[in-house]
Symmetry: C2
Subunit: 122 residues, 2 copies
DNA sequence: TTTACTATATTCAACTTGCATATAGTAACT
DNA sequence: AGTTACTATATGCAAGTTGAATATAGTAAA
């Protein structure tokens, strides 16, 4: 039910979804691997929990942002491998615009903070 | 229980708390007024709900980030007026560092997105 | 006395999250 | 064959967060 105009604008989950869509834009990926790649996006394996990752991937599949299939890796159990869909690309495009606005907001906040503190120092 | 090392790193609520501390750094303020000022920080009065604002202000008082007192305005009912505490300033200082890191993460995400999309275009 | 506005606060249902746990295949060692 | 370790996916539950609606109440003008 979370289109681009409804629901919470930018929760951690939304940020996670966006990161995953970017990672999957290039190449397919499965949970455990994506987990590692997510570190670059600020989801360190300490604070990021694997259960949430699998949950959000299933949710993204149910809303057709990604599609999955089972693949046998070199060793270990089968992997559920995800790839991005056209709908996923379309949604990423929309969500990225929100991220840009969020970036501006953060910049405004930091500037305001620095101005406020600086004025206090003098 | 949310010190600077525990709990969710940057929910909307945390972002709201930081914005409020910055607003209160300069001058005292009360709920209804702060509501308007928050627009600059990306909390538009449409999407921002006043109930959440009052809730978070009370919570911030209970954790000693702000202190409140009742004041009679020019007209209308009394206002609960908040001011920042030393503890609030200390916490803001810590949280701002998190925001800076978050800004970097967002920049990384946007750069990665643009690179990914650009590569696809050629 | 009714309507509108300012102002604060609470309730409730729905959703989100972290943590723990369950399940299970592979692989190495004994 | 049994144990341990590792890879991999998934679910259950308690606690926390949120949005929307509602409650309360003072002021002020019609």
């Amino acid at each position: 039910m979370n289109g681009h105009c409804h629901g919470r604008a930018q929760s951690m989950e939304r940020f996670l979804e966006i990161s995953l869509l970017i990672l999957l834009y290039d190449t397919k990926g499965y949970g455990y691997l994506l987990m590692e790649k997510l570190e670059n996006f600020g989801f360190s394996s300490e604070q990021m929990n694997i259960g949430s990752l699998y949950r959000v991937l299933r949710k993204m599949e149910s809303s057709s942002l990604v599609a999955s299939s089972w693949e046998q890796g070199a060793q270990g159990p089968k992997r559920r491998v995800y790839e991005i869909t056209d709908e996923g690309k379309r949604m990423l495009d929309i969500w990225i615009q929100h991220v840009r606005r969020r970036k501006e907001t953060i910049e405004y906040l930091l500037e305001t903070y620095e101005t406020t503190i600086h004025d206090r120092m003098n």
